[in-house]
Amino acid sequence: MHTIYIMWLRELKRYFRSKSRIIGSLGQPLLFMLALGYGLGSVFRAAGDGSYFQFLVPGIVGMSIIFTAIFSGIQIIWDRQFGFLKETLVAPVSRLTIMTGRTLGGATVASIQGIIVLAISMAFGFRPTDWWLAPLALVFMLLVALLFTALGTGIASVLEDMQGFQLIMNFLVMPLFFLSGALFPLSGLPPILAGLTLIDPLSYGIDSFRAILVGSSHFGLGVDFLVLALVTSAFLAIGSYLFSKIQI
């Protein structure tokens, strides 16, 4: 218990200490939110789908969560390179505990990042349809954050160094983001694209944010929850298995 707490605390300390990381990782979501939100607003309205900005914000919240979460998970590569990983790997605690603490920490950080983006979007005029559902939104944000931190941890456990990082960004994170329906509605898509969005776990995450924040959902909140919970459990299990197999 103590170990999980200290691993969690470490992630938070590192996050709050690097102001540049916080600000830097806000830049991209803000750019997407403002440029696309205002830029495509009139097209979207003309198509009869209402306010694009309202539609987009949950997607951008999802975007900042997935980026921060995978990045947190991938930190293991840095820890390996700077040597700190060894210190945790020889400690007399199970690797499952270590992995749990790290993942919870990374997920907390990612959720905070999502909350910051949500708060900023409100400054630009975003309004959730029902304030009473805000706590529920938090639950789903944490779930999505957990899912992708575990994914990042799993990937980082099998990578030796940072060489693979760019590869992951371009061939995993970007596709996950663009195919998630963060930027466009999931209905009426060409079949192949629709199929891809169906197997992207982030689709269900962003769909759940929309269900809670703006009251429109493609899959339904129940389905979202089931899929997210299942995939998160699977990634946690795979992630801890791979983490337990790390050799140095």
Partner: protein, 267 residues
């Protein structure tokens, strides 16, 4: 006396390169044991296998009654280690690094606080306790790692070139602390170093490894007697040759090594 570390026919291959080739040795409980050898001999690789960080290719290890490959968690409960390579979290402060270690190793809060203060004063970093580690010099980081390694009192402590880059004051200080700990609590000390006078002075038993094979072992006196030399440094040079180690050993080197293995350095 009973061995606390027992290694039998241990082999580690990376691809087709053998870093450790069939070594066997034992370390008695409460002993101070030095593991010496030129660069690239296989010392750190052996330590990594003993400390559950690497899986052996073949052979068996018993550490405090357990096998690191089969029962890593049990083994991790019985040792502490100061690594050769950096292992601090640069983004945390010196004290946070200590505290983190204390929690990981289950040192009770009160004992943790007093011991952290004692050890950080001991390595003269108490004044810098709240500085981020990334602001430290190389020697300061090393001192912090040593203090951290001593925070919990395990059955066996591994020190992989602990004194590298340390000034003589800190070095002496550290060894007397370790000898004290060894005497008072019976902690077994397993260390590597390239300072031969240090090994001769501190270690009760020495094993010399070269190209992944143990070529001699015994007390410092045994080794000098065996080789007919005056000091451990001379004995070491005589046993391992004076060629500087390259990534690939030359053909003559390999031949020499082959002969030596065949003619059997004492095991």
């Amino acid at each position: 006396m009973e061995p606390i570390i027992e290694v039998k026919h241990l082999v580690k291959r990376f691809g087709d390169f053998s870093a450790v080739r069939d070594i066997s040795f034992a370390v008695e409980k409460g002993e101070i044991f030095a593991f010496l050898g030129p660069n690239g001999a296989g010392k750190s690789t052996t330590i990594k296998m003993l400390t559950t960080l690497l899986r052996p290719t073949s052979g068996t290890i018993t550490l405090a009654g357990h096998d690191p490959a089969r029962d890593p968690e049990e083994v991790r409960r019985s040792f502490g280690i100061v690594f050769q390579d950096p292992s601090l979290d640069d983004e945390l402060t010196a004290r946070e690094n200590m505290d983190f270690h204390g929690v990981l190793y289950g040192v009770p809060a009160k004992l943790r606080r007093t011991r952290i203060e004692e050890l950080m004063k001991f390595v003269e970093l108490w004044d810098r306790r709240d500085s981020l580690v990334k602001e430290f010099s190389g020697g300061m980081k090393r001192r912090l790692e040593i203090a951290r390694g001593l925070l919990h009192h395990p059955k066996v402590i591994f020190l992989d070139e602990p004194t590298l880059g340390l000034d003589p004051q800190t070095r002496n200080h550290m060894w007397s602390y370790l000898q004290e700990l060894n005497k008072k609590e019976g902690i077994t000390v397993f260390f590597t170093t390239h300072y031969m006078e240090e090994a001769a002075r501190i270690a009760q038993k020495i094993a010399i490894i070269d190209h992944g094979t143990i070529i001699a072992s015994g007390s410092a006196a045994d080794l000098t007697a065996q080789t007919g030399t005056a000091s451990l440094e001379d004995a070491f040079l005589k046993l391992t040759g004076s060629a500087i180690r390259e990534e690939e050993s030359s053909a003559t080197d390999r031949l020499r090594e082959h002969l030596r293995v065949r003619n059997g350095g004492r095991r």
